[in-house]
Symmetry: C2
Subunit: 459 residues, 2 copies
């Protein structure tokens, strides 16, 4: 069913694309204006990308300014900037004035200085100021993703007055259902919705409809923490206030969906040591270039592991069988380390600022996890190795080393990311491959160290 | 600012908890009813959890049925079921009738058969039927997360008639802003919102307000694909239809936020080979038990690597320096494999059903990525190893092996997850640790095989 449903939508889009090309050729594209109104911005963006470049300007001419602004927001920044450049100066100005300010501020961040100054210069003064202000906030904060296209009332408004205000500003506001109630200091004191307005009688006061106790955030709050509040409270929007408590913008749920995906991508990059900008369509040379810096660093760390082995060359040449268990010891340490890292990365969110007590509890938990896992694996492998190599002493050395290295791996996978987080170092540094490679170093040192200590029993 | 904001909310909650305990002791808890109305369900759930167990029943008695139902939905399933058990039979029935049907169906899935039958038996017949139907859909499909608390009109309604209908059913509907327009066959033909109703005049027809071309899904569509549509189209809700095209429910954005987090967690589990149910609060024995099955499997795979080395014991004893480069070769193969895996896991979504062409393109891309990375790393390491060990031949063998194993690692990290995906095997099997450990096996075989082939130049 899903396939059929979506396929028919794709077919409809394909037909529409053909009609557009035909209409442009016949010079009758303007007549399709009403038909375009029926489509979603995302669909029109899809059409824009499939259209022959020569047809794009006329297609954009036939769209309402608002729909065109929405469509452009669905394109990749590079394509969007190109499209804005194709438009006439007047039309570009209209579109820029109408775009979501938060999207526009992000887009401006991707432009060269000259393009940005040109775009800002053609905008209305008030819109320009708003965008300039938004660009001052970090792109990953509430301020960076907020919009100023919200609706607000005073608590003393009647429903009729509120409806009049909503109608008056209809063209300037977005279609988010939340409406804010402010006091004279522009502080948010309540929240109401279009649904409340529909259900209430005309003479009722907004202050009787509104919910108090609105969840608010400050402009510098991390976007991941904002997204978390949306999840907890099932919000569709959240008001953003400045340090004085004044309402300065609203974050809406559509931006939050993007944030959740971005943050999940970040976590995955940390684990895999890869770059989130690599997808199925990335060119192979670009993909290789993005993956190489990490790998070259890990290559030299790997050689460092080799030099540790070379230190223990004497031990190794006396008991060659020690080599057989190297991959197992190193692998197990890496694997337990990565597991611990995954738990920590998922748990270390901006709203979860771990204090000393919480860190100690986590370390103590992971220590006991490491000891438990180490004991089970160490004893199993001691038996297998002892029987395989017919040497109880060798089995004991390997089992004991494994317990020790698993505990070390667990602790390294926990301490390193927590430490980097506390030191405010980019946590991407604590990637899975780094932990794995460091654990190689630790585990080989422990393994051969233990073996050298008990060499007299092994030979 | 953020800390202060949230801390003051926490302080307010703390005060409220104290007042509740005090009121319960003085028998005046009912008087707090209006105060509770001002709080979000999530906050009340937080209070419920902090309250002494003895105070919980009276606290729940003082809540409106609707608010109580919302609050219970915010609790963990286990706690939620316990809470429903504490309630009187009549109150429990009211709450169950009022809960979101999709949440309730999920909850019933967590109950023992007897508890479920009891809960179903006390519900209204119509609600019971709806929940039973919902339980037939897979929990990770559109049908499994849809609700039936939506509002619909016919296209010929005037705005006034629509508003009357909305007011009449206000208690039964949720506060999502989307309103659906149906034809006589109950097929969705349009979409309108409370905002549209507020902005339009009373006599306007719904068919003139509504947007056509509504994005719809079938009940069996995977929840991740549904979430993707929400992102693409910036939706707050999406209608779900049965095979005949009839509207049978609506998925709302709050469920989608949960889906996005679940799916991200799944991807992370695949990379780290850990269990999503491990967080900072999991007991150490539970955490160890959840991590061990994987590790034990990997332990034996690691021993298999050891037995490969033992096959090449002859080569190894002739050129002990070969051992020094083992960790580097195995590590690099594992790391490139994990990077490829991460790209594939993020790209393999339900809506991205890869066909043969796409798979071949991906493999061809990754092959070239592997060759490029392999060439750069292989040549670097050949020089370093040749100089370190003063043997050009050894450098050449190590460099050549590294190129080969990196290509193999890249391909394994790509082919294995794609293959499992095609074979519809639980993709969790293609975890990072598994790829890493398999790559250990491949890389050691290639490395020692190459060295054995060229042993005459090395000795």
């Amino acid at each position: 069913m899903h396939d059929i449903e979506m396929r028919s939508r794709e077919q409809d889009l394909h037909h529409l694309t053909l009609s557009i090309e035909d209409a442009v050729r016949r010079g009758s594209i303007e007549q399709m204006h009403d038909e375009f109104e029926e489509w979603e911005a995302y669909d029109l963006a899809t059409i824009y990308l499939t259209l022959n470049e020569a047809y794009r300007p006329r297609f954009m001419d036939a769209l309402d300014t608002e729909l065109l602004a929405d469509m452009l927001s669905e394109l990749e920044p590079r394509v969007e900037i190109e499209a804005l450049y194709i438009l006439s100066k007047d039309r570009a100005a209209q579109v820029l004035n109408r775009m979501d300010n938060d999207d526009l501020a992000d887009l401006m961040g991707e432009m060269t200085d000259e393009v940005r100054e040109y775009m800002l210069s053609i905008m209305e003064a008030s819109e320009r100021e708003t965008v300039r202000e938004l660009m001052n906030y970090g792109p990953e904060t509430a301020g960076g993703i907020m919009t100023n296209r919200y609706v607000w009332f005073y608590a003393k408004y009647t429903v009729r007055e509120a409806v009049e205000k909503v109608k008056h500003f209809a063209d300037l506001t977005n279609d988010v259902q939340d409406l804010y109630v402010l006091n004279e200091n522009k502080e948010v004191i309540g929240l109401t919705t279009y649904r409340d307005l529909v259900l209430a009688s005309d003479t009722e006061l907004i202050e009787h409809l509104m919910r108090e106790n609105v969840v608010k955030v400050s402009a510098d709050m991390d976007q991941e923490a904002v997204a978390h509040l949306f999840e907890q409270y099932d919000l569709v929007s959240i008001p953003v206030e400045n340090t004085a408590g004044k309402l300065i913008g609203v974050v809406t749920f559509d931006d939050v969906l993007d944030v959740l995906r971005e943050e999940a991508d970040e976590d995955i990059n940390k684990l895999a040591g890869t770059d989130k900008t690599i997808d199925f369509n990335t060119h192979f040379l670009t993909a290789a270039k993005r993956r190489l810096p990490w790998l070259i660093m890990l290559l030299f760390l790997g050689l460092l592991s080799g030099s540790i082995i070379s230190i223990f060359q004497g031990t190794l040449s006396q008991v060659v069988a020690l080599t057989f268990f190297m991959p197992m010891i190193a692998g197990m340490t890496g694997n337990t380390g990565t597991q611990s890292l995954a738990v920590v990365i998922r748990g270390l969110t901006p709203q979860n600022k771990m204090n000393g007590g919480a860190i100690l509890r986590l370390l103590w938990r992971e220590l006991r996890v490491g000891l438990t896992i180490g004991a089970v694996c160490g004893i199993s492998v001691a038996l297998v190795a002892g029987i395989w190599q017919s040497s109880f002493a060798l089995g004991a050395v390997i089992g004991f080393s494994l317990i020790l290295t698993i505990v070390i791996g667990t602790m390294a996978g926990t301490i390193i990311p927590v430490l980097l987080h506390k030191l405010k170092i980019d946590p991407a540094v604590a990637s899975g491959p780094l932990i794995t490679t460091l654990n190689d170093l630790f585990s080989l040192t422990v393994y051969f160290g233990t073996a050298t200590l008990f060499i007299s029993y092994l030979v």
